[in-house]
Chain length 235, copies 2
């Protein structure tokens, strides 16, 4: 039999893990913001900081993974608690990959800093995209923290907006390359940055969808935005 | 107390889940092969088949996820068995994303078929890349099936090779675009295909690394190939 004391300790353990996931989320959000800044200002030190911090993100992933396995083995969580643990395992995979994408952006900033500064690209579309995915990530993590699914549809819609921005950035870059083929290499770098941000949006959307599974016990990963609206907005 | 009967049933359940993961892996491998064929032959029907089959892959992911949660809740697996279940949960996430990348390639094939057939690109580098990632996936799944980590380092090295191919494809495409800017749009399509294949390689490498965790209880996700060699080749 579990005593009340054991239950309290169990809740505390689960809470501590949730806190670690949110800590990881905060770190990853910082990665995104700093990677953009490194790129726009061509700040090599900041780019390096993003790359170094990625190891913290990776270490947190391993640590939380361990914690989740331990809590399953020792506490045998059922129903809602088990869903919570499983969703943490999935969430940190996406957070880690957001960190990877931010690191790629920082690496591009470093590369532009080192090599090719002849054509300084404008980053307007990139900035809008980053603002969007950052908000998506925040909303998703906020939903995770409060077990609130009321914003999931919003995140899914923002993801569609990010995809539109990506296509628009691509059209702009093609025009740019056609006008002056000497900008092709640099334009491709910018294109890959846009691609990385688009990925970050996908990961944020994944995280928002896990929260629905956690709260509603329903898998909404492979359905349309309309169906998701039905699932999340009904009481 | 668990009876022997219960244990046998439990083993059978775990085996059935492992079988489903391998089935999903087989399906995803087929997706990759068909997506390439759709692209090279500009076969619109095959491209559609890949897109339709992606729903099977998605459905399998949801099904296996459910199965994993159920086995944890009902059987409370410990140590090695728990690691096995957790690794299945992670493996299917990567398999599902390989399916997504294959679907993107199929969509590109469809797009080229529909719109822009003026410049038929050569797909030599793409073919080599697909051959490599297909082998990586097979080796990773084979390691999963046999709980064998002896080939993990090989997969990691092949992943580096895929990255080299990607860079070489990119250089080729840049030359191509510089020579004839009218090929820019098409070249970007091919570049994104190359990017999708490079991603597939990353996912295959992830799967191979999960097997090490499962077998050795050691997390090798964020270490160098040299360190991985030490971890997997020592008895």
């Amino acid at each position: 039999m579990h005593s009340e004391h054991t239950f309290k300790q169990y809740d505390a353990e689960l809470e501590a893990l949730r806190g670690k996931v949110l800590e990881m989320g905060g770190l990853v959000e910082q990665q995104i913001v700093q990677a953009l800044e490194a790129l726009v200002k061509l700040d090599s030190n900041l780019a390096k900081e993003v790359m170094v911090n990625d190891q913290l993100v990776n270490a947190l992933e391993v640590q939380i993974d361990e914690g989740c396995s331990q809590i399953i083995a020792r506490r045998q969580p059922a129903a809602g608690d088990l869903r919570m643990v499983m969703m943490m395992v999935k969430t940190i995979t996406d957070l880690e990959r957001i960190g990877d994408e931010a690191t790629k952006i920082a690496r591009t900033a470093q590369k532009i800093f080192d090599e090719d500064r002849m054509y300084k690209p404008r980053f307007n579309e990139i900035k809008s995209m980053v603002a969007l995915v950052r908000e998506m990530l925040r909303t998703a993590l906020d939903g995770f923290a409060r077990l609130d699914v009321s914003k999931t549809v919003e995140v899914a819609r923002q993801d569609e907006l990010v995809d539109e921005h990506f296509r628009s950035a691509m059209r702009q870059l093609i025009t740019f390359m056609l006008e002056d083929p000497r900008t092709i290499s640099m334009s491709l770098e910018v294109l890959f940055v846009a691609k990385a941000i688009e990925r970050i949006g996908d990961h944020a959307k994944n995280i928002a969808e896990y929260v629905v599974y956690m709260v509603k016990g329903k898998d909404v990963r492979h359905i349309s935005v309309q169906e998701m609206e039905r699932e999340t907005l009904e009481p």
